[in-house]
């Protein structure tokens, strides 16, 4: 079981002081947060990708490459990589390069992006979002697995005798997660390829998350990648903690009340009841998150959103200390209990390499047999 954090990279005023960090401060804060995540024993740091204010991370591989040089162990990932508006050729190259530089500590989470105007800025149209996600990923999947690719599709210029360079490290493509909040077709896509499925449920009730994860699990089994309980599932999470739960509520409420997405809407109490947001003591967080598997089954990756809504950097770092120091060790222990031996861990470069060397990965991939050519 992997535990980590994901950052949207929003530049949001601190509502308690009215101060807005500069882009320079926010970018450096993200790096500091990623390094802290490794220091406190977390497994994953994932950055968002955005091309509009108030967000800073437009260039994920630049940031992750820099973080890779300053860390030794933590897996670097995305939340999400825009498979719709990025050229899949450039994704193939950028992330293969990052994978080499980071010694294999790289995976990605594909997402579509839900901001209409961003699409035309990159020559696309949001109305084609789903088809872009399907076609672009089918190409990306081949570019990492076939040395020479001839390809023709609907959304980009054809490729003749193209080789994406560098080739993936050790011939093993980075593991891919597909993130979606409410699209059955994306769960279907993840299941088809045997990739991971990440439900970013931080703004959603678990009843909804459960439906989509179950669909993915059933289809994962349908496509012959293993049992439904062996599918690779990730969830989002959102917490704010203080030793005394009332202190946590008092301190977080001003951030909650005006936060992007849910601010000025439901009360903190309603939202914590309806979504995985947990504001309270570390013990409350442990109990809540130890129960997530009751809804979705034993899963592989839990990412927390910790640095958002204008929370100041020192507070975020304190939160990471509590998360890594108290919460995650307890959750690791808790979630290992009763976890069947045949439920796999999240794939890593080392595990995928070992599988490839053992010949467990099919050389002929299902995606290349009927895909867009």
């Amino acid at each position: 079981m992997q535990f980590g954090i994901f950052s949207v990279g929003d530049v949001t005023p601190d509502p308690t002081t009215g101060r807005t960090p500069t882009e320079a401060e926010r970018i450096q804060a993200m790096v500091t947060i990623a390094c802290k995540a490794e220091e406190v024993g977390l497994d994953v740091f994932a950055t968002g990708e955005h091309h509009n204010p108030p967000f800073v991370p437009s260039s994920p591989t630049t940031m992750l490459g820099f973080i890779a040089a300053r860390t030794e162990r933590i897996v670097l990932s995305t939340a999400t990589t825009l498979i719709t508006t990025n050229d899949p050729v450039k994704i193939a190259e950028d992330y293969a390069m990052l994978q080499h530089l980071a010694g294999g500590r790289v995976d990605l989470m594909m997402g579509r992006g839900n901001t209409g105007p961003v699409y035309p800025w990159f020559g696309q149209d949001i109305r084609n979002g789903l088809q872009l996600a399907i076609e672009n990923y089918a190409l990306l999947h081949r570019l990492w697995r076939e040395d020479v690719v001839d390809w023709e599709g609907r959304f980009r210029t054809p490729l003749q005798s193209f080789t994406a360079t560098p080739r993936p490290l050790d011939g093993v493509p980075p593991f891919v997660w597909h993130g979606s909040i409410r699209t059955p077709e994306i769960a279907e896509q993840a299941a088809y390829y045997g990739d991971g499925f990440f439900h970013n449920n931080i703004f959603w009730p678990m009843s909804h998350t459960k439906q989509l994860v179950q669909l993915y699990r059933n289809r994962f089994a349908h496509y012959g990648h293993g049992g439904a309980d062996q599918a690779i599932v990730g969830l989002g999470g959102q917490v704010f903690m203080r030793p005394n739960s009332q202190d946590a509520v008092r301190e977080f409420r001003p951030y909650f009340d005006v936060a992007p997405v849910y601010g000025h809407g439901p009360s903190l109490e309603e939202f914590t009841e309806q979504t995985p947001l947990t504001v309270g003591s570390p013990q409350q967080v442990i109990e809540r998150y130890a129960g997530m598997r009751d809804a979705v089954g034993d899963y592989q990756r839990q990412l927390f959103l910790m640095d958002h809504a204008g929370l100041p950097l020192p507070t975020v770092l304190e939160q990471l200390e509590i998360l890594g120091g108290e919460v995650v060790p307890a959750l690791r222990k808790e979630l290992a209990t009763g976890r069947p031996a045949h439920v796999p861990d999240a794939p890593t470069h080392a595990s995928l390499l070992a599988e490839a060397q053992a010949g467990a990965i099919d050389v002929l991939d299902p995606a290349t047999s009927g895909g867009t050519r």
Binding site: E188, W204, G263, G265, P266
Partner: protein, 206 residues
């Protein structure tokens, strides 16, 4: 006897509410008309006032509370809908519109809907045909030909006005009942149950 479900959406803001009163009259008349057609009606009432905060929250967060979700599912799964709103500023209320804004796309496609409205004076009566009817046309519902409008004066005891309201209610109810009784019971597809197979998505379908 067969069974059908009627969902009643009442947008009245006061309690007691003349909008709810009109909704109840329409419901009773429709249930009677269905019984004449050998159909037993199950009635579920959604009072939008009870969901006012949750509706705003749904707009902001993108998801419904459990209570609002149940109300949305009730309407989305009904065989026929009676939708009644007060008229504010020449149209349905914002609260009424918000409910239909957050319903899933296609939730009311092909569903028979009886539209009705209340207001202080009969000068607002064309709002039925200028505002409500286009809304439900957009939602691809089958709107019954008779819309029922009740101004304050229509509630007066006796006289032509009261009689006219009663006959409009009966006419609209009979039209809704005929549509509901004439269609098979609705089956709502679960999008998480039967996904489009990926090979089809790859070919550009789905």
């Amino acid at each position: 006897m067969t069974t059908r479900t009627l969902a009643v959406v009442s947008g009245g803001l006061r309690q007691p509410s003349s909008t709810r009163l009109l909704a109840d009259r329409l419901t009773a008349a429709t249930v009677d008309a269905l019984r004449d057609l050998d159909v037993d009606a199950t009635v579920e009432v959604v009072e939008l006032r009870d969901h006012a905060h949750d509706l705003t929250n749904h707009l902001l967060t993108g998801f419904a509370s459990d209570e609002l979700r149940a109300a949305e599912d009730t309407v989305a799964g009904a065989d026929g809908v009676i939708a009644v709103t007060p008229i504010f500023s020449a149209s349905y209320t914002g609260l009424f519109k918000t409910f239909f804004d957050v319903l899933e796309e296609d939730a009311l496609t092909g569903v028979p809907v009886l539209i009705a409205a209340t207001a202080g004076t009969e000068r607002h009566s064309l709002a039925l045909d200028h505002a409500l009817r286009p809304l439900f046309a957009y939602l691809r519902s089958v709107v019954v030909p008779t819309g029922v409008f009740a101004a304050s004066g229509d509630w007066g005891v006796g006289g032509d006005a009261g009689g006219a309201l009663a006959s409009r209610i009966d006419r609209a109810a009979a039209q809704l009942a005929a549509l509901v009784a004439g269609a098979p019971p609705r089956e709502v597809a679960d999008p998480y149950d039967a996904p489009t197979p990926f090979e089809e998505l790859l070919r550009g379908g789905g």
